[in-house]
Structure formats: structure tokens, C-alpha cells
């Protein structure tokens, strides 16, 4: 009885992993039997070996911290500009009338189309990457902040005024928490754009970072390093998403839509 329940439990936990593990095994066998050339796709063990090599030589951490730094700097700059613009335009109608049309026009330019111009402006230095990330992150944060602020319950704001809240208290107690669910949607979306932008920017023009690692390895036919770089990006993407989810479950505990989420 007890053991059968235990096996049931482990089976339940294991099910989602059956397919990935089977795929890895198949992949490994395909490479080892020579059916799949390691030029096309190196064996999982080879990728792990490349990871180990890069890690122990210290090279990996250098590239990682560079990419991470670009991501954080770009997100911080673009995110704060988008947040502030969204806030100002959400709260003050005249500001919205002045700025919104211009912002919407710029928003319609795909930010990656700016790459040639950005390289002309900044070369292939750090500024170029940070600028592109910031530009990509700005708009989803802007639009969602604006939307969140605009949808704050007017009845609550009125109540706040009657209960003696000043402008600051109104902002901290009502505007901001009311807009937070929408803002976090923007953050989550922006995190995705942040990695995508970084991948493209680093792949096209960089002398350090994960993208550079991959492009450099390509020149020397190190397929294992290329695959490992791709996995790194995937890992970072997953990490960013987990952080966004964590923020949501912490900050939106009061909201039934965010309760009991895995």
C-alpha cells in the first residue's frame, strides 16, 4: 500500500522527464554510431566536456559576466525610462497628449532594424549592446505601465482622497500597487526581449560575451562550444522567466489570479 503510493509519486514526478532523457540518449547513440556527424551536432557528452573546459579555464565566467552586465544595464536603463514615461503619461493627460503619439511612432520601428545605425553611432563597443537592449525593453515596460496606471480603479483613488492621502501616499498605496500586475506582465515580456536582443547584437558585432563565444567557436568549427552557448542563452532565458514568476507570486499575493501558482 505504502510502497505503491510511493512509486506512484515518483512516477508522477518522473513523467515530464521521460521524453528529454530519451532524446538525449538517442542523440548520444546517433553520434557515437556515426549516424549523426559531430560536425552537425556534437554528442551531449562532448558539449559537457566543452562546458567543463571553458569553465575551468575561467573563460566562461568572463563571457558570462560581460553578457549578464549588458543585459542588466540595458534592462535597467530602458526599463526605468519606460516605467517613468508610462507613469507620467498614465497619470497626467496633458503629458500623454504631448508624448504618446511620438512614442507610438518610434515603437513601430523594430529595434533590431536599428543595428546598422547603432554600429555607425557606437561602433561595436558596450554602448551599442546596452543601447539596443534598452531600446527593446523600453516599449513593453512603457505600454504596460501606462495601461496599468490607466486602469487603476477610480473609486479607490477617490476613496484615498477622502481618507486624507496626499499625492505621495496616493501613488505608493493606490496608483503603484494597482498598476503592478500590468507592470509585471511588461517586465516578463521585456525580459524575453532583453535576451533576444542581446543574442542578436552579440552575434553580429562583439568582441566578448556569450554571442562572441559562439561566433568565435564557429570560425574554428567548435560545434560543441556553439551548442553550449545556445544552451547558456536558454538557461538565462529560463532564469529570467523564473525571476519574473517569483516577483509575481511575491508581489501579487493579494490577487486571486496569482495565488497557488506553481
Amino acid at each position: 500500500m505504502k510502497s505503491s503510493r510511493w512509486t506512484e509519486w515518483t512516477w508522477g514526478k518522473a513523467v515530464p522527464w521521460v521524453l528529454p532523457v530519451a532524446l538525449l540518449v538517442a542523440w548520444q547513440t546517433a553520434v557515437e554510431t556515426g549516424w549523426l556527424s559531430s560536425r552537425v551536432l556534437p554528442a551531449p557528452t562532448a558539449v559537457m566536456a566543452a562546458a567543463w573546459h571553458l569553465g575551468s579555464s575561467g573563460e566562461l565566467w568572463q563571457h558570462l559576466s560581460i553578457s549578464f552586465g549588458r543585459a542588466v544595464a540595458g534592462f535597467a536603463i530602458g526599463g526605468s525610462i519606460g516605467f517613468l514615461l508610462g507613469l507620467v503619461n498614465g497619470v497626467f493627460r496633458p503629458a500623454e497628449r504631448l508624448l504618446d503619439t511620438s512614442i507610438q511612432m518610434i515603437r513601430n520601428i523594430p529595434h533590431l532594424a536599428m543595428i546598422p545605425l547603432v554600429i555607425l553611432w557606437f561602433g561595436i563597443g558596450e554602448e551599442a549592446k546596452v543601447f539596443l537592449v534598452a531600446l527593446g525593453v523600453l516599449f513593453p515596460i512603457y505600454v504596460n505601465t501606462w495601461h496599468g496606471i490607466r486602469n487603476v480603479d477610480a473609486g479607490l483613488l477617490e476613496m484615498g482622497r477622502v481618507y486624507g492621502l496626499g499625492p505621495w501616499a496616493l501613488f505608493w498605496r493606490i496608483w503603484l500597487p494597482g498598476a503592478l500586475p500590468a507592470i509585471l506582465v511588461g517586465v516578463r515580456y521585456a525580459l524575453g526581449i532583453m535576451w533576444l536582443t542581446l543574442i542578436v547584437a552579440e552575434t553580429i558585432a562583439a568582441d566578448r560575451g556569450i554571442g562572441y563565444l559562439a561566433m568565435n567557436a564557429r570560425e574554428f568549427m567548435q560545434t560543441d562550444v556553439v551548442v553550449f552557448s545556445i544552451l547558456l542563452y536558454a538557461l538565462f532565458g529560463k532564469l529570467a522567466d523564473s525571476i519574473a514568476r517569483f516577483l509575481e507570486s511575491r508581489l501579487l499575493r493579494w490577487n486571486v489570479n496569482y495565488q497557488h501558482r506553481p
Binding site: 484615498g160 482622497r161 477622502v162 481618507y163 486624507g164 492621502l165 503592478l180 499575493r253 490577487n255 486571486v256
Partner: protein, 260 residues
Amino acid sequence: MGAGQGAELVFVQVAKRFGAQSVLSGIDLTVKRGEFIAIIGRSGCGKSTLLRLAAGLEEPTSGIIQLDGEPLQGINTKARVMFQDARLLPWRRVIDNVGLGLKGNWREQAAKALEQVGLAERANEWPSVLSGGQRQRVALARALISQPQVLLLDEPLGALDALTRIDMQRLIERLWQEQHFTALLVTHDVDEAVMLADRVVLIENGTCAFDWPVRLPRPRQRGDAAFADLVEAILRRILGPESERGAIAASSFGEKRRAL
């Protein structure tokens, strides 16, 4: 809580227009210190507007509102409002909602206010898990914690079921008797008006058209003959002479009586 004192609220020829639409056209009304007034009238006659004027959320187009002899300017800081929807902040726990806008060490006070409305043990829950009646009780605790001199109630019980409504009426009456604030209650329920008010005021065509003193001793009984007579008289006046027979017929069916 200490016995504060209610403020006197005087409307002098107060008119309010929204664009071309005249909603109130000359309200003269004196609410004495600690008095409980119920405002009734057909839907859209301007009851909420009158209350919002008293709260300082709207400015009169003409006329003045005096609070203890001083003309009211901006938000009425001596008043608290209870709205039909409780308007609790969903992202603050019950006790933090009660302490909204208070400074210093208010937690103990908030706990006491929650105890007064019978919700002491729900202090740390989110508003979303409370029932409609419980939310209104939290809103009442929030309104009364700062010991306001005026309490403005805009159909606060309109969305509650009949039994919860009776409970809340008793609670409001008890707290009013303890704290002596001046109360202005907008309601569409004539029973409720007669149950709670010292005076029932009818708003019609933008003015205070009629005024009934309620001299029944408290606590009042719905089954009481004098109670029923007054309710009937008020209904007959609101519905007009041509619908007199209908009104009497309706008032003998408890629930239909509320269908103003």
C-alpha cells in the same frame, strides 16, 4: 473609543449642475451636531451628488456648505465616506485597510476598531476572501477609526442581503450612539431610513421637498404600528397621489416596499 462630537453641517441654497444638466437647484438643509439624517428620493435625483458635495469631492455650482460655521473648501477632512462598494484596497490586508492614512502607532487602534465590527480574527486576511457584508464592516471600521465628526453613507447596504442588512443597521446605530458623529445616510430603502434616522429628507426636483421627523424610540421595531404608518406615509408621498393605491398595496408586501 472616546465620545467625539459631531459637526454641524449646513447647506445654504446649494446648487449643482453638470454642464447643461441641473441636478440640485437649491438645497437648504441643516444637519445638527450628532443628528442622523436619511436622504431618500428616486434614482438619479441627486442623492449621491449631495453626499459628494458634503465630502468635498464636488464643488457646488452656487451656494455654500458650512461645516461648524466655516465654509467647506476642498476635501472635507472632518468627514469619512462609506460607499456602496466597500472600496477596500485589495493589496492591503484587512487591518492595513482599516489603518489607511493613519500615522504613528495605529495597529492597536485598528485591531480595536475591527473588534467593534466583529472582525477581530480576520485582521490578517486579504479583502478578497471576505463576504460583501464583512467588507462593508471593514469599511465601517476604516471610516470610524479616525473618529470623524461626520459620517457620510452612500447606500452602503444596498448590495447586501436582507439579513446582513439588518445586522449592519444595528451595528451602525450602535456605533453612532457610542460615538455621537453626525450621520448623513443615502438610501433607497424607506424601512432603513425610518429605522435609523432622526429625520428623513426627500429630495425631489433638485430640492429638499419633504422632511419627516422620526420620533419613535430606539431601538425601533419594524413590526411596530407607528413604524409601519410612517413608512407608508413616506412611500405615498414619494410615489405621488395617483399611485396611492398602488403604494399601499406594495407596502403590505415587505420586499416590494423597497422597490423605489
